[in-house]
Amino acid sequence: MANTNDAFSADIALEPYWTAARDGRLLFKHCRACDRPHYYPRPLCPFCMSADTDWREASGDGTIYSWSVERRASPPFAIAFVKLAEGPTLMTAIVDADLDNISVDQKVTLKFEERNDTPVPVFTPAS
């Protein structure tokens, strides 16, 4: 794969994740053995250690579980935990938002942003 960030491309098991990310799609893992989703993705299920895990695509719908705005940064930025409609909660950023009007349980929508030449999943307030 043509990922320019060595740190992120050194893990063969994650290649489908980064390939999908470049297409603007967010993948998470699902375990066929125990039927539970997980994130961040691992080849061995963190709930039952089965290697029988497959990739699922997130719809892109989520709600904010918690958030904070780092006010001293220039410019200030919002970090958040977002719960995906499919279940898992992930660390992410809230972007294209009024930083004074973010709230817990707010509905948000997936988009991708390049950070360190790598597309990463971030969220924006749902319209």
Binding site: F28, Y39, P46, S68, I79, F81, P88, M91, V104
Partner: protein, 387 residues
């Protein structure tokens, strides 16, 4: 096997420095080791077990044991962030109870103020597995703990004013500590009117950044019997970790819920028996969540519990961090567990500052959290008794 009554904390020492310019970390380890051994009435030749954590440079325990000039027959460098040193007391007591050693030395030294290392930003030689999925969003101790506070407010109605009472109580205590970095008493209004650094945490919700260190000496009962200092015995201890569990998260509680249950069971006491508590205080929210998890109040009631001076010695029902804690006094290496045990031992010996000494302090608890409360952390609880 239980550790109850099988080990004693015979020596404690908190380095007086808060700014160690020109003094290497290894030297601070040596100075605190000497201080704690002097306090116990022991010498370096008596030490047969050594404990340190991730703050020790180079090869960790190997490098510092060489610098100190000790030849331990038991060594443990368990790293659970700032809670490591409370874990070490537990492990030292277990090793003593098993006959593996008799005099265990535990040291901490760090220089986040003048040494360049920023809190939570230590360089990592090998990238952890979570990094690709978290690092791009710039997590820091500050914004991770802030997200815990935000969620706690959302679920339980906790307010910034309630959190501020924790800083107020710490500052009331710190005014009596000549070594404290912040000696000025602050008000609830001053805390909530200080600048927001990471919503909903204000500047004065945060701990200080200081250089320094500390050490503990844990000994077998037959050694304690020969020493002159007031005796503090280990009643019980517990440790636990908590992480993001594959994305099934709840950041309103800590692993302290599990570590304290084990400690109380081993000690055979309940939160009602605790006369004084040392609890890690990287931020005000850290204290509030841990007091709930330790069982001093129900989950969600922490805000009401800490308000109106309830944590101030001589005023409230549960005096905490009477040295001023990490919020006002000292936070060496950005790690809180060591100073938590030291002040609890002072209280049990009756050697805290007279203005903050808890009367008839026979049982005390020290609790630490290491790592990041909202992602992955280690909790450790230690219950001690004056004997």
């Amino acid at each position: 096997m239980t550790i109850k009554g099988k080990a004693f904390i015979a020596g404690v020492y908190e380095h007086p420095t808060r700014k160690a310019e020109g003094i290497p970390i290894a030297q601070i380890h040596a100075e605190v080791a000497r201080g704690a051994l002097d306090d116990a009435g022991l010498t370096l030749q008596d030490v047969d077990a050594y404990y340190c954590a991730g703050d020790a440079p180079g090869l960790g325990g190997l490098s510092i044991a060489e610098y100190l000039g000790i030849q331990p027959r038991h060594i443990d460098t368990t790293e659970t962030g700032g809670s490591s040193y409370i874990v070490h007391v537990n492990h030292a007591a277990q090793a003593i109870a098993a006959g593996k050693c008799k005099v265990a030395l535990i040291t901490l030294a760090g220089k986040p103020r003048t040494g360049g290392a920023q809190p939570g930003r230590a360089p990592l030689a090998i990238q952890p597995p979570d990094a690709p999925f978290e690092a791009p969003f710039k997590p820091s101790v500050l914004n991770i703990y802030a997200m815990c506070a935000r969620r706690h407010m959302h679920e339980f109605g906790t307010t910034s004013e309630q959190l501020a009472w924790i800083k107020v109580a710490a500052s009331e205590h710190a005014q009596h500590n000549p070594h404290a970095m912040l000696k000025s008493v602050v008000t609830v209004e001053e805390v909530v009117n200080s600048p927001l650094v990471a919503d909903p945490l204000h500047r004065l919700d945060c701990c200080i950044i200081s250089d320094g260190g500390g050490a503990l000496v844990v000994v077998a009962p037959e050694i304690a019997a020969q020493l002159k200092r007031p005796k503090v015995s280990v009643m019980g201890a517990g440790e636990a970790i908590k992480h993001n569990n594959g994305g099934e998260i709840d950041i309103t509680y800590s692993a302290g819920r599990w570590s304290s249950a084990k400690a109380f069971e081993e000690a055979g006491v309940t939160p009602d028996d605790i006369k004084y508590v040392s609890v890690y205080d990287s931020f005000t929210i850290t204290v509030l969540m841990q007091l709930e998890d330790l069982g001093f109040c129900a989950k969600g009631d922490g805000g009401r519990f800490v308000a109106d001076g309830n944590l101030i010695s001589g005023v409230g029902k549960l005096p905490f961090n009477t040295d001023g804690g990490g919020l006002c006094n000292n936070h060496p290496g950005n790690r809180g567990g060591m100073t938590k045990v030291i002040e609890a031992v002072r209280q049990l010996r009756g050697e805290a500052h007279p203005a903050v000494q808890v009367s008839n302090c026979d049982i005390a608890l020290a609790h630490g959290t290491g790592g990041f409360l909202g992602t992955r952390h280690g909790s450790a609880t230690l219950i001690m008794e004056r004997s």
